[in-house]
Symmetry: C2
């Protein structure tokens, strides 16, 4: 085989793969669960570990940033790193990812300790392996492979990284962080590495991401649990009211029934719907990945449209009254709902929150007090299909995967829109995770072959973007 730039990249990656995986495992051992206040020190340790590692990678600047305190207190630390190109005309790229992870406990169904990484059958199992530490970390080896293969001592682009610590908590302080540091974050292109591909066999680039507004609704009825025989049927029951709210979220057509929820929604175009329909969607296989037995969703839309292009409402948790063994005949004192709303382009997160608050207030009977607490909101975003930087991503992936690259959207949410809005830069997505990776679920994993394709794509991308990535 002749020594092409691509084979040089591959050789460099092969040589450094073992050390790369050892480092990643070390990072995954830090339980950086941002939703759990008792893990705050671990989230900080995770940020400090990454900053030190980026310095070791060669980034001249690697800092831990604490977001400005929001209404819910101080934010969890993010990591910023910068490696100037040295070329005066080089474009500036900002890579976004996050180092915090979802909660995980052995008793949730993990076969192994979620914070003790295990490699088995070409897969690395750990909380955060795919979402998102693995996908952040491939950029460290990617930029080194880029330098090794091109003989450069600094990247072809001005490379910036912003790796936040609150993504799994809805990024409550991220927008403020971006605003505070807008000058240093300034860039021509944002690359988000916190998404997935269609499948191992069908590499894809994502063109949009749903937004998220999630909240807790606390309902208060009797001041204490009361006897259901003596009082039941004559006073309001907060568990019943929580259920009535959750049930009223959707109509019989499974559309979200909160008045005003769909205001401004940009419908998927006919061309997008046709592209979606061309993807090799196998409902049986998809259901297996979803660990589910049937599809169910908004009337008039396909499964892919439901998860990519339509806003949804989901009950993430509900609780109230007696949940121990056996029965206990009480009218509960309190009940709680945890709801999340996925948003699509055109929706306004503030208006959605207001609509939900108004809807809750209007539905509860006298005698039930309530509080609605939104954990934060993440805006939706959508990348123009014709942007030249998107073509750079497609070419870099094509070289790494040796296949045609197709297009998808992402059902999940990330704070990409904050970057887009504040920095005025288009948002592109480079993610190599696959649906079976088990994001937010027990036994999360990443496919090692795909992880290394991510490294390789990152190694090709900076040169292509420097050459072709600017809009005319």
């Amino acid at each position: 085989m002749s020594s092409t730039p691509d084979s040089a990249v591959r050789a460099y990656i092969d040589d450094h793969r073992a050390a790369f995986l050892e480092d990643l495992a070390e990072w995954l051992r830090i339980p950086s669960v941002s939703a759990d206040p008792s893990r705050a020190a671990d989230v900080r340790r995770s940020a400090e570990w990454l900053a030190a590692k980026l310095t070791g990678t060669g980034f001249p600047v690697a800092e831990v940033w604490t977001p400005p305190a929001g209404p819910d207190g101080p934010g969890a630390p993010a990591v910023f790193a910068e490696w100037p190109s040295g070329d005066p005309d080089a474009p500036t790229v900002l890579v976004y990812g996050h180092h915090d992870v979802q909660p995980a406990a052995r008793e949730d169904g993990w076969r192994t300790d979620p914070f003790e990484p295990v490699i088995e059958d070409g897969r690395l199992h750990a909380r955060g392996a795919a979402d998102d530490k693995g996908q952040v970390f491939f950029h460290t080896l990617g930029v080194r492979a880029h330098l090794a293969a091109t003989g450069r001592t600094s990247p072809a682009v001005n490379l910036k990284l912003l790796i936040e610590g609150e993504e799994e908590s809805g990024s409550p302080n991220f927008a403020a962080l971006v605003r505070e540091h807008a000058d240093r974050l300034r860039c021509d292109t944002v690359i988000v590495s916190d998404t997935g591909m269609w499948s191992e066999d069908t590499p894809t680039v994502c063109t949009g991401m749903r937004g998220l507004a999630d909240c807790q609704i606390d309902l208060y009825g009797p001041d204490q649990d009361i006897h259901s025989g003596s009082f039941g049927g004559a006073v309001p029951n907060p568990a019943t009211e929580a259920a009535r709210l959750a049930a009223a979220l959707h109509g019989a057509d499974r559309r979200v029934a909160v008045p005003g929820f769909y205001d401004g929604v940009i419908e998927p175009t006919d061309r997008e719907r046709a592209l979606f329909a061309e993807l090799p969607f196998d409902e049986v296989a998809w259901l297996r990945t979803a660990h589910s037995r049937a599809t169910l969703g908004e009337d008039g839309y396909t499964t892919l449209e439901r998860i990519w292009a339509r806003p949804t409402a989901e009950v993430n948790g509900i609780g109230g009254g007696y949940q121990g063994p056996g029965g206990k005949t009480v009218v509960p004192s309190t009940a709680q709902l945890k709801l999340s709303f996925r948003l699509v382009a055109g929706m306004d997160t503030e208006k959605v929150q207001q609509a939900v608050r108004a809807w809750v207030a209007a539905r509860l009977p006298a005698g039930i007090r309530h509080e609605v607490t939104f954990w934060g909101a993440t805006r939706p975003c959508l990348t123009p299909l014709d942007h030249p930087a998107l073509q750079s991503v497609v070419r870099a992936m094509g070289r790494a995967f040796g296949q045609k690259i197709r297009f998808t959207r992402e059902g999940g949410s990330g704070p990409a829109a904050d970057l887009q809005d504040t920095l005025g830069a288009p948002v592109l997505f480079l993610g190599i995770s696959v649906p079976s990776d088990g994001w937010h679920a027990p036994n999360e994993k990443v496919e090692l072959d795909l992880l290394m394709k991510g490294v390789e794509t990152a190694a090709y991308l900076w040169g292509d973007l420097a050459q072709n990535g600017r809009e005319a």
Copy 2:
């Protein structure tokens, strides 16, 4: 004051009050929680303690009975005691109560340890103080006062006690126990001491009790929690479905919406409704007792009718998905509902269970599996207002309280109907608990003055029943 039979009774009670309360406190320290399998040994210890105490009281027979094993395993032990009158024509009376208690834990809001009785301001605080150990225990001193005041060496009636150990678990094996021992339980009258009065100022006799059927509904969706962004809105969510079931329990008129639920219901008569309406019902005070801020219930009925004479459905507990701090954007794998149905005379517990099972099965979408587990069922019962034994109870209470005795019903449930059906004897109620006693709630208590009126009523009742209690 001349030495009337009543003053002799009172003097005897005063002399023995301190020792009586010490004994009761000892019993209350045994955490006989029948719904909690880990407390089985304590339930047995409670039964053995009571049997020994009844022997000490003078009952020639005091035995611990283990109910025949039912579908859910062996039943918790009951106590049977017997004290023959010696008079050949004496009627036989069976006193029913229970020695098991509701679950209770300090963190539920108890100011003191629920199983360490505390006397404060004339009230005895402990789990079971009113429901039902206190009301069982007043019969021990009552029968001694009866003997002391009349100079008898055995009661004026053949006195039997059956104190079960599974009442707070829905008495799953009680009917079988009664059937098994029907010969030894044979009686002319059943006296249930497991109910309450209107208030401290308005002593009442209860004429009926609602039945109970309670169940747990387990719903199974995805095999594990899944990412709400990747899959939400396209697969069924068991927490949503649990909420939709709970919400569908009642219509907009707050009538129970389970088809067939009201089949056979005996409506309260105009005379009963008029009697209820005469009671000094103070909604503000009642709401304070209910620790609630508003009334809410079936359209067309008053609060008293709703809790006494109408069947109801209540959500005792609901749970599913993430209930920890913060948010977690998952579609939950499972969800659970705990429901209880209060039944009135004319309803068939089996048919209610079948109706609920059919209703659940018909409402769930494809992809949600379910199980419905009924914990047992307690039949409703209603005492004829014109029964002579009821007049004996009214007279005995009248002597103890020195007031006109009025009539109520009881919203709660007890297995009285099993006794009525199997033994062919009318069921009467003698209870001195008041609504503020906090049955099933934190800080349960009994008013000591009322507890001693219970002792006194029991002391008068046996003589009156022996003389007047038989039907013509």
